[in-house]
Amino acid sequence: MVSGRGNAAAGTTLSLALFTARARRCLAVLPLSFAFLAPPAARAQAPPAPAYHFVVVLNPAHGGTDFGANLDGQPEKDYTLAFSTRLRSLLEARGISVVTTRQSDVRLTATQRAEIANHAEAQACLTLHASETGVGVHLFTSSLAPASPTLFEPWKTAQAAWITHSVALEGVLYSALQHAEIPVALGRTGLPAIDSMTCPAVAVEIAPDGAAAGSGSASGSLADPAYQAKVAAVLADALLEWRSEGPQL
């Protein structure tokens, strides 16, 4: 016998607007407390100024023999690559330098992706996914526990020292998407590439807009060019705002 008692919705969540807000508040004090811990290379950087080294890494997931999800007939690897190209042009139009992990249909290992991202010394690293499940945009940060920066980070958990910055970047993206009335869910997950990145890193998974059910190029579907353009524009503007918040470490 099974008798339902309904939802005791105490709110255990992946989606924590509060959590993010709290994390962003914490971030305000973080640069001060971590200033003395910053690696020499970072300390040598210019102090917060109108113009500083600001690079965004775009990491379109999957590629080559890794097709990713099947998005109504289109492989996810093609979708992420096309979206990356679209977002890249929007960012460059806003004067932001962009490094991409792949520009063609090739398969990269998690290590290769992290190496490209880390070499760029980026201020934001976005890994791009797409899925037919859920609605709107899903933002994920690494599930590694935050750790203080050390001189030599273990490769597999290098992101641990950057978690607070990643969560702050996630918060900026979250606010922008919410403001644009795109449904957005937050979560934490373990992805080898992100766990090895030494930059504020967020995985962005694009799902169909909840308002429009249906497939093909129907309004709000993954294939809808207007929906893609809207998400890309919101992300580009959010990254512009992220740049205005000053250098991260």
Binding site: G4, A8, A9, S15, E132, L144
Partner: protein, 233 residues
């Protein structure tokens, strides 16, 4: 020249060896299948005689990426392994039902087995035990969940949906059996790189109170085997 009786004896012995070998191989295959299908001790459904107790299922919702507790009265077997299996089975039945908030085909039969083993001292899971659980007899436990291949093969592919399946299973186990602090997954008895192309199954997931409040699922540092590049990100 070899005497005729020796030749006959040799052929007879050879035939006997072949027959015995075939029988042994069949027995082995039979036993292997029996183990894989979990026919070992208990039926898939909890026996009706088991008393119904309140169980908290942590049910995922794709719409907002949340995991929401849902209290049900379930007849749960007393054996910890079977209890864990029944809990996860009920959770997957909810996901397989029409109109599910986190639709995944498969249902209860997708959980082939759950084994509980003690967590070695010094691992993160060993420290993650809450006060109440630590006070009871026995230490923290690692749950090894053996999933059916058909479940993983038909699971929707995506970062959110795969993460939510794993998160809700870990949280459901920990909510009802607080001694379970770590969870590992196998598919048909074997390690598998990812659930459906995204969420890694090569790592040990921490199922602690922190997990439930913070939404953090994994700890990469304690993965017994290196993460495989199969997760294409």
């Amino acid at each position: 020249m070899i005497p005729r009786y020796q030749t006959v004896l040799f052929v007879v012995l050879l035939a006997a060896t072949a027959v015995m070998g075939t029988v042994l191989w069949h027995l082995r295959q039979h036993e292997h299948q029996r183990l894989l299908q979990g026919e070992v001790s208990t039926p898939t459904r909890a026996p009706e005689v088991a008393p119904a107790v309140d169980a908290t299922l942590m049910v995922a919702d794709d719409a907002d990426g949340s995991v929401v507790p849902q209290v049900l009265s379930l007849p749960l077997p007393p054996s910890p392994n079977e209890r864990a299996r029944a809990l996860l089975g009920k959770l997957l039945d909810i996901y397989a039902a029409p109109g599910a908030t986190h639709p995944v085909p498969g249902g209860a039969s997708s959980i082939l087995q759950v084994f509980l083993v003690p967590v070695p001292a010094g691992t993160p899971g060993a420290a993650g035990l809450s006060g109440a659980a630590a006070g009871s007899r026995g230490g923290p436990e690692l749950a090894v969940v053996n999933l059916a291949a058909s479940f993983a093969d038909h699971h929707p592919s995506g970062l959110e949906t795969e993460t939510l399946t794993i998160l809700s299973m870990c949280e459901t186990l920990h909510a009802n059996m607080p001694r379970i602090t770590e969870v590992r997954f196998l598919v048909n008895g074997r390690p598998r790189a990812t659930l459906a192309g995204h969420a890694s199954l090569m790592r040990t997931y921490l199922a602690t109170a922190r997990t439930i409040t913070g939404g953090a699922v994994a700890s990469a540092g304690i993965s017994a085997q290196p993460a495989v590049a199969g997760a294409g990100q």
